[in-house]
């Protein structure tokens, strides 16, 4: 929980040459990425560049075709279910649309993972649920149904569900997509604050530059399954790669115009 990083920083996620194909298309085409302990890395990229696919590898929802992957010191490249379930005790994922169980109340959603760990009494779980909801600013919503919440609230409940498990690594899938700028800022501040308070490492998949600059200690950028940038938020403004520049400045240039002439002749 110390705010000061140890001298030789442990690596919580280490990917080397990760390849994942869907059919003939290599969605990840030899990706290298390190996430160090206590660090928040934002994985940027346009839609369909394999960011979320990479994230899903880090929690075992997908299995790589080749390359190696280590999560929290365990080689999970071809890990079986038991190994993954051990690793998953310390990793939590925040899904894009919350992925809340809609047959349960908000409180039950957050309690489910805690119940399943069989480490806590009912009273402890109730306290943890209340605490997690208070941290994301939704105290008192325990009895509500996910369907009665707004998109931003659902994402916050999703975050509460993740942090209730006290993970050492948090994975966020597009935490700000589909939210208005003010709610996005709420989420960004929350991610930042959680990192400070929990000392957990985080890997954030996003295509939101504002969010990336705000929450990221480091930014990595994927394009067509390859890593094209890896550096600090400051360094991305001076990147020379035209693909990175286009993304940072939000320009399409001639990409679309050349590919398909609008008039057609």
């Amino acid at each position: 929980m110390s705010a000061v990083a140890p001298p030789a920083r442990a690596v919580v996620v280490r990917a080397r040459g990760l390849v994942k194909r869907f059919g003939a298309r290599a969605v990840l085409d030899g990706v290298d990425l390190d996430v160090h302990a206590g660090e928040t890395v934002v994985l940027l990229g346009r839609s369909g560049t394999g960011k979320s696919v990479f994230l899903k590898h880090a929690i075992g929802l997908l299995k790589a075709d080749s390359g190696t992957l280590e999560v929290l010191g365990t080689d999970v490249t071809s890990a079986d279910a038991d190994t993954w379930n051990r690793v998953r005790r310390d990793v939590a994922m925040v899904f894009q649309a919350g992925a809340l169980f809609d047959s349960m109340t908000v409180g039950e959603n957050i309690a489910l993972g805690l119940h399943h760990q069989r480490r806590f009494t009912a009273g402890e779980i109730a306290a943890k649920v209340e605490h997690a909801l208070a941290v994301v600013g939704l105290a008192g919503t325990t009895a509500q149904r996910p369907s009665s919440l707004s998109g931003g609230m659902r994402k916050r409940v999703g975050i509460a569900r993740a942090i209730a498990l006290q993970p050492r690594l948090l994975l966020y899938d597009e935490p700000t997509s589909g939210l208005d700028p003010v709610t996005s800022d709420v989420i960004n501040r929350l991610i930042r604050r959680l990192q400070r308070d929990l000392g957990a490492s985080a890997l954030v998949v996003s295509h939101d530059m504002t969010s990336a600059r705000f929450v990221g200690d480091r930014i990595a950028m994927l394009d067509e399954g390859k890593m094209i940038f890896d550096g600090t938020a400051g360094a991305i403004d001076h990147a020379v790669d035209p693909r990175v520049r286009r993304f940072v400045e939000g320009r399409s240039d001639e990409m679309l115009d050349e590919a398909a002439p609008a008039g057609g002749s």
């Binding site: 379930n85 998953r88 894009q96 992925a99 809340l100």
Partner: protein
């Protein structure tokens, strides 16, 4: 379980009443001139217990419960709820599929018992109103030819059909991909697959349970 069982009951009872009634009318038509009409009760009882009760209940529940399971699990799949379970180290098969499988396998024989009773009663309504039979005549015929083996073999079929409905709903629901359209497709496939399997397995089970040496 209550959703599978109690929820399906009104529809199953409606189907059963008419099944019994239709069987009585048509049995009378077929028996006329060959066998005295007082045996209508036997025919209704036999056909309902070994065939119509289990199969029609399974087809009705395949449509209703199988579709519900596929739609629910399919929606959980496309909204990443199943992924979320997995990331929390909760095995989705044990947590989602097993309870549904047990519910349909246990509940289908239970509602089939109801359907059997109601269908035999439906047959009596026709026998008394159309053929002017007394309750004594009808139920005497029902009772005289009753063999426990018929009932239990019929319920064995039901349990197998229940397992099929739970498995098909879960299988297609779990494998859903592609948003709302995918959920619709999975639901249809689950219903079709469970109905076809019910009919095929009915034939297989009939051979195992009611084989006559000849």
């Amino acid at each position: 379980m209550s959703q599978v069982g109690v929820g399906s009951l009104p529809l199953v009872i409606l189907v059963a009443v008419f099944t019994g009634a239709v069987t009585a009318v048509q049995a009378a038509y077929q028996l006329e001139g060959m066998v005295p009409l007082r045996y209508v009760g036997s025919v209704v009882q036999k056909s309902v217990l070994i065939e119509l009760g289990p199969v029609l209940t399974a087809l009705v529940c395949g449509g209703r419960v199988g579709a519900a399971i596929a739609a629910e699990l399919g929606t959980m799949r496309v909204t990443e709820q199943i992924d979320a379970l997995e990331t929390m180290a909760i095995p989705p098969i044990r947590y989602l599929i097993l309870p549904r499988f047990i519910a349909t396998t246990v509940m289908l024989p239970v509602i089939t018992v109801f359907a059997d009773f109601v269908a035999v009663a439906g047959g009596f309504v026709v026998a008394s109103m159309v053929f002017d039979q007394s309750g004594h005549t009808y139920f005497e015929a029902v009772r005289n030819t009753f063999e426990p083996r018929d009932l239990f073999s019929g319920l064995t079929k039901s349990a197998v059909f229940g397992a099929v409905i739970g498995l098909m709903g879960s299988f297609y629901g779990f494998g859903t991909e592609g948003g709302a359209e995918g959920v619709g497709k999975a639901t249809t496939q689950a219903v079709v697959a469970s109905c076809v399997l019910v009919l095929v397995l009915d034939y297989v089970l009939a051979n195992l349970l009611f084989r006559v040496a000849y």
